[in-house]
């Protein structure tokens, strides 16, 4: 049984040790960069760089393969459909009826596919190397109210539980001859009622117990909350953060002052 919807892989690496806030800053930095630069060369270089980071962060190759397996269908779709639906420029390579394929359209498709992949991998850098608890702690440290952070953490924690309840309930109903509905949308939704009702009732009962468990553990007891593992910026973070800021400024100047990489 999978016990968490979690991409985190525990490895002793510099990437894992970085403060989640630094990694969040990296996500922001990369997103701005990828959205402002559209040249395929930039996205390709960036994608390569991210793989370098993942490799040095000891993320196993199997995980990367897993990620690519999920990314390639969408990549293929973009590469195929973009040139067909957004034919730009005059350099027509191929034309049938009203469908034109242009060089620039092809390049744009390639660029979009690379950017989307690069963005996905930027988030994977964060998710592969940061466990959910630290991620939530980072967000709270950045100003998210604690209650919200706790809610988010609990939601993440209970996803597998709810999934488990859903599986058990659907097995229990299947054992009574229930089959996934066929026919119209409404009929199908209706056929799911035996499962949904039981899942929702069980989930409500769980939520009720959870709220009692929280107060039995002194939640909102009036004391000011302290933290067992408070996040503190390490020397590595103190190097990375200014580096990210400076390079962002430099890249933005190149892009908008000098019009590079459009």
């Amino acid at each position: 049984m999978s016990f968490a919807f979690d991409l985190y892989i525990d490895r002793p690496s510099w990437l894992h040790r970085l403060d989640p806030r630094t990694k969040l800053a990296f996500v922001a930095f990369s997103s701005i960069l990828l959205l402002s630069y559209s040249h395929p060369f930039v996205s390709a270089t960036f994608l390569l760089g991210i793989h370098g980071i993942l490799w040095s962060g000891k993320v196993p190759a199997s995980r990367l393969r897993w990620a690519w397996q999920r990314m390639w269908p969408i990549t293929l779709l973009i590469l195929l459909l973009w040139p067909i639906f957004y034919p730009q420029g005059d350099e027509v390579l191929w034309q049938v009826w009203r469908v034109r394929i242009t060089t620039q359209g092809l390049l744009q498709g390639l660029s979009t596919a690379l950017r989307i992949n690069a963005l996905a991998f930027v988030f994977l850098v964060l998710l592969f190397s940061t466990d959910q608890a630290r991620l939530v702690r980072g967000l709270v440290k950045l100003g998210l109210p604690y209650e919200w952070g706790l809610t988010l953490a609990i939601a993440l924690r209970y996803l597998p539980t709810l999934y488990g309840i859903y599986t058990t309930v659907s097995e229990a109903q299947q054992a009574r001859g229930w089959v996934v509905g066929e026919g119209s949308f409404v009929q199908r939704i209706k056929s799911y009622l035996p499962i949904l009702v039981a899942v929702i009732v069980t989930a409500l009962r769980l939520a009720d117990n959870l709220s009692m468990a929280l107060s039995a553990r002194g939640f909102q007891s009036g004391a000011r909350r302290t933290y067992l593992r408070d996040l503190e910026l390490s020397p590595a973070d103190k190097v990375c953060l200014p580096l990210l800021a400076v390079s962002l400024i430099v890249f933005l100047i190149f892009r908008f002052r000098h019009g590079l990489g459009a």
């Binding site: 968490a4 608890a133 097995e171 054992a175 009574r176 001859g177 089959v179 039981a198 067992l228």
Partner: protein
């Protein structure tokens, strides 16, 4: 330490304008510092509600009408909310799933300490201590969902323990655990009481556990405490306890049986007491004469495995059904691997005759549920074959198999969804495509059979736990499956509901239905099952007649199973001529009283011997003709 005075509590009405639901109706309770108090009562009498009032959750989290007074460690719960009370009262809920909401064991324990605002250094110290006490120190970075059932419960204890409460309130801390898990949790609780002087209030259904661990017992019935005293005193009130729907220790039941039928006044309740009381009544016997051939069964268990595999019906085990020897289920070389690569079953071979009653036992995670899910196609073999009623399951859908194999899930709430009990029972029949007339006829029949006729129009979700269990059994039975699989059906049920359920299941078995029961309760296995399958790590550790299994000490130890107290007592009394394989109180009594009769007859035949008082004569006392076979009723 705990003072409860004339406590009344009623839950707010379920619907606006409805009536409040009174649960506690005048509870008086005092618990001394350092005491281990057990609270017993059948389901729905208000035990959990009482726990919630001790921690201040009631009335603060859920309003409702609260009268009377609860003071714990000098704090009145009317003036202090659950947040403040949590420093004094640690409340451990029944369901571990809903109280472990963090990503690691360490964070789980830290949560309460963070709420109290403790400095990190002190937190570190307390976490280390709490995890040490519950013996989870090595698992700090584990995800709570990766822990076993017993570990989860111990973690739940650690989470409140770290807050250093003076009182620990535990709501059925061992329900649903396998025998090993139960022992781990109970010994941790006992250690806390002994070494840390924590006051314990524990809700528990199992009389044997209460007897072994608690200092004092209170019995709750209909929102009031009706009986209190030492476990010995309280648990020997066999008739009253049964009237309240509660279990009594098995040997207490035996004493009661003797007193009722022979007019004795036995008070024994533990094995030692029973042994010394009963052994005194019989002469010690040695088997001087060669044993009757029928009796050689026990001594010749040369290799346990062979003995277990060769099925000879116990010679006075009542044959309950004419057994049709065609197999209902054949499992051949079944292996199953989950997606994460874990082998849950490895090379299981099994054949179950139609009309048999098989119990499947073993630790949690040994593959019991995985095995039975193959019978109705919820899981498909990774390798091997499963044949049900002569047909390979590979060629049949779950829906088709549902006509042959009924499956009762552990938690009734996982299948209850319909607006009325009638609809709930009819659901399966409609799925199978029966005509309306047939659906109505079978549903009505099922409701009548399981005593649910009056509840036909009630929403099943508002019924008590025992009745919800009945509804799910009726719903499965209505489909008239040849084979009935019950996955821990009695977990969380009180004694009376368990008896009702098992009697119904036995009736179905008498009518020829094949029954497969997964359970941790060895008393149920001994009393009802004809064969037992012991699983361990996805393999069959042993398989054979129930009576033989309980003779296999090595197998039992390997699977962390303990025979029921009556079986242990019978074994111990073998030197007095008992065969030592009694499975129920009634069997033991019959055999023992037959021995008594035999002894009396011999004495009357040779009066000169019984008059002698010398040691020599004692040892010569006529056991030579005694063979256990002569005792068959």
């Amino acid at each position: 330490m705990v003072i409860v005075e004339d406590l009344h509590y009623a839950y707010p009405p379920l619907t606006p304008g409805g009536k409040p639901i009174p649960v506690l109706k005048g509870v008086h309770l005092r618990v001394q510092k350092g005491e281990f108090l057990a609270l017993m009562g059948s389901t729905g009498v208000g035990k959990t509600t009482l726990c919630l009032t001790l921690s201040g959750i009631l009335p603060h989290l859920l309003r409702g009408s609260f009268e009377g007074k609860v003071v714990v460690a000098g704090m009145d719960t009317r003036d202090h909310g659950p947040g403040q009370m949590s420093r004094q009262v640690g409340l451990v809920f029944q369901d571990p799933e809903s109280q472990l909401f963090n990503m690691t064991v360490e964070d789980e324990v830290a949560f309460g300490l963070e709420s109290l605002g403790l400095p990190p250094s002190e937190m570190e110290e307390r976490i280390a201590w709490a995890l040490e006490v519950v013996r989870l120190s090595g698992l700090r970075q584990r995800h709570p969902l990766q822990l076993s059932g017993g570990q989860k419960k111990r973690l739940a204890i650690a989470t409140v323990l770290a807050m250093r409460p003076q009182v620990l309130v535990l709501d059925e801390p061992v329900t649903g655990l396998d025998p090993l898990g139960r022992h781990e949790v109970l010994s941790v609780i006992e250690q806390l009481k002994r070494e840390e002087e924590v006051t314990i209030v524990m809700v528990e259904q199992d009389a044997e556990a209460v007897l072994a661990w608690a200092d004092r017992v209170v019995i709750m019935e209909e929102g009031r405490l009706v009986l209190e005293g030492s476990p010995r005193q309280v648990l020997s009130q066999v008739e009253s306890l049964h009237d309240w729907g509660l279990a009594v220790p098995q040997l207490g039941e035996l004493a009661h049986l003797f007193n009722r039928r022979q007019g004795t006044s036995f008070h024994f309740i533990t094995e030692d007491e029973a042994y010394s009381a009963l052994a005194g009544e019989l002469p010690e016997t040695r088997f001087l004469k060669p044993l009757h051939p029928k009796c050689t069964r026990l001594p010749t268990l040369a290799t346990p495995r062979e003995a277990l595999l060769s099925e000879k019906p116990g010679f006075y085990h009542p044959v309950q059904t004419p057994v049709d020897l065609s197999p209902a289920i054949q499992v051949e070389d079944l292996s199953y691997r989950y997606n994460d690569g874990l082998w849950a079953l490895a090379g299981v071979n099994l054949s179950i005759e139609a009309g048999n009653f098989l119990a499947i036992v073993g630790q949690n995670g040994s593959g019991k549920t995985t095995l039975v899910k193959h019978l109705n196609g919820l899981l498909r073999p990774t390798c091997g074959q499963v044949v049900v009623l002569g047909q390979d399951t590979a060629s049949q859908s779950v829906g088709q198999l549902a006509r042959k194999v009924g499956y009762l899930f552990q938690n009734p709430d996982h299948q209850i969804f319909a607006p009325t009990v009638w609809e709930e029972v009819a659901f399966g029949l409609r799925n199978l495509g029966f005509a309306n007339g047939e659906v109505a006829a079978r549903t009505t029949e099922a409701l009548a059979l399981f005593g649910l006729g009056d509840q036909a129009d009630t929403p099943p979700a508002v019924l008590g736990y025992g009745l919800r269990r009945q509804v799910t059994l009726a719903a499965v039975w209505a489909m008239h499956p040849q084979i009935l699989v019950l996955d821990e059906p009695t977990a969380g049920l009180d004694w009376r509901s368990t008896r009702t359920l098992m009697e119904e299941v036995t009736n179905l078995n008498r009518q020829g239905h094949t029954i497969i029961l997964i359970t941790h309760d060895m008393k149920l296995v001994a009393e009802f099952a004809r064969r037992v399958l012991v699983l361990d790590g996805g393999r069959i550790l042993a398989h054979g007649p129930t009576r033989q299994l309980f003779q296999q000490e090595a197998v039992l130890r390997l699977a962390f199973l303990a025979p029921p107290p009556i079986a242990a007592l019978a074994r111990r009394m073998q030197p007095y001529g008992l065969r030592g394989d009694s499975l129920t109180v009634e069997e033991f009594y019959q055999e023992y009283s037959a021995l008594q009769r035999l002894d009396k007859e011999q004495r009357s035949r040779s009066p000169e011997q019984s008059e002698g008082t010398g040691a020599e004569e004692q040892s010569n006392r006529a056991p030579a003709t005694l063979c256990p076979c002569d005792l068959a009723p």
